[in-house]
Symmetry: C2
Subunit: 243 residues, 2 copies
């Protein structure tokens, strides 16, 4: 079973104070880029893997989805999601993505935000998702970029001229990365970008879009701290089709 | 027109002493991975863009290609290529890839090794290649990895524990990178990995394989200096189809 760090009290308390937890999708700077990769949801059947507080699920209902299922391994996250609104088209289920089974040819869109990098058996997960998509369905997801995740000591370094750089090492050494983020000992899984893409292709997906998110000029004007996100890719957004 | 650095005397002299110039394909550590991405060449029509000394062209003839055309902007490179062997199936042409026109639906394979990162107008080049491929044809190419190329000051840094890292900055700032490699003022074009892949998709290619080359255990045993290539991705190998 995947580490369920979101039910750790310290982690959950920290997580609940993040801008994207309080402010939802509009507080996530990559959301405009991710939204632009989504198909029209009118009348569609949508699955959100790692739904957290359910911000995307509620948005998808507003965007016209006929049915939205949010799945998360964390009881605390789902309790919070359920407390934030009831909509007839919306349901939640507590499931571990590593143990997931899904009905065949059922979804028009499988969506996931910043969750797949916790998954050890990514190959099995992709096969499960692939068979659950209707013909013409889409998988759109984000993960931490492997350049962000690879280093033994992830953190900005500053040179003698005061300029920041991101120290990349261990890139080809795939496997767990243990970091202290909101709580000690958070386990994520580093895979190279090649591995991430080739696994999608082997699972029968067609790649449609690969975005290494970076802030726009407007975003930096409004939030100058985002400027450092131009120095190295932090997030990877992928859109693919199931022919 | 692309900078023709290969006809610079200093550059050419330096280049002519590189292991891959002297020893050919087998002296290029990424060759086994690139070769594994190639289709069967028996009876095929092959184009090599940026053919240099023609090592790949001669190999393709040996592998059974019916016709191989090697293209390069450098007169010196082509003179060297021509001096290294005449085969009936093999021809060379001096052409600038930025000004290229190609006959429609003519090639089974377009191949390019470490040349596209010199090209400013990558989008036009891809459109030119795409229309030149027969249905079912392939484009297989390598470039310097954008993580390798992005930094203002590309070069290993060593931390207090003696461990190397690669300092990534300026990743989202696409455009020229001027470096001193064999000669001063070599101009390469930095594009993010997302830009590189999305341009292929927009040109009508289907992505089939994306490899961020790293050395195998055997390669490191034979050539220990290669071990640093596990720390950060240096080369990007891409295979795609033209449906």
């Amino acid at each position: 079973m995947t580490q369920n760090i979101y039910d750790n009290d310290t982690f959950f308390t920290g997580y609940s104070q993040l801008p994207r937890s309080v402010g939802g999708l509009d507080a996530a700077p990559e959301w405009p880029a991710l939204r632009a990769m989504l198909p029209d949801l009118q009348g569609k059947n949508v699955l959100d893997l790692g739904c957290g507080y359910g911000w995307f699920c509620r948005w998808a209902v507003q965007a016209g989805a006929a049915r939205v299922l949010g799945v998360d391994v964390s009881e605390k996250m789902l309790a919070q999601a359920r407390s934030m609104g009831n909509q007839a088209a919306l349901g939640y289920a507590r499931l571990d993505m590593e143990q997931l089974t899904l009905p065949p040819a059922s979804y028009d869109l499988v969506y996931s935000s910043l969750a797949f990098h916790y998954i050890e058996d990514y190959t099995t997960l992709l096969a499960t998702i692939r068979q659950s998509l209707k013909p013409g369905g889409k998988l759109v997801f984000s993960i931490e970029h492997p350049i962000f995740m690879a280093p033994r000591q992830p953190g900005w370094l500053t040179d003698a001229q005061g300029r920041k750089h991101w120290p990349v090492d261990s890139y080809q050494q795939q496997g767990p990365r243990i970091s202290d983020w909101l709580a000690p000992g958070v386990i994520k899984q580093h895979r190279t970008l090649g591995t991430t893409l080739n696994a999608l292709l082997h699972a029968g997906f067609q790649l449609e879009q690969v975005e290494e998110w970076g802030p726009t000029d407007d975003q930096i004007a409004q939030q100058p701290a985002l400027a450092e996100e131009r120095e190295r890719p932090m997030l990877l957004l992928i859109g693919c089709g199931a022919p």
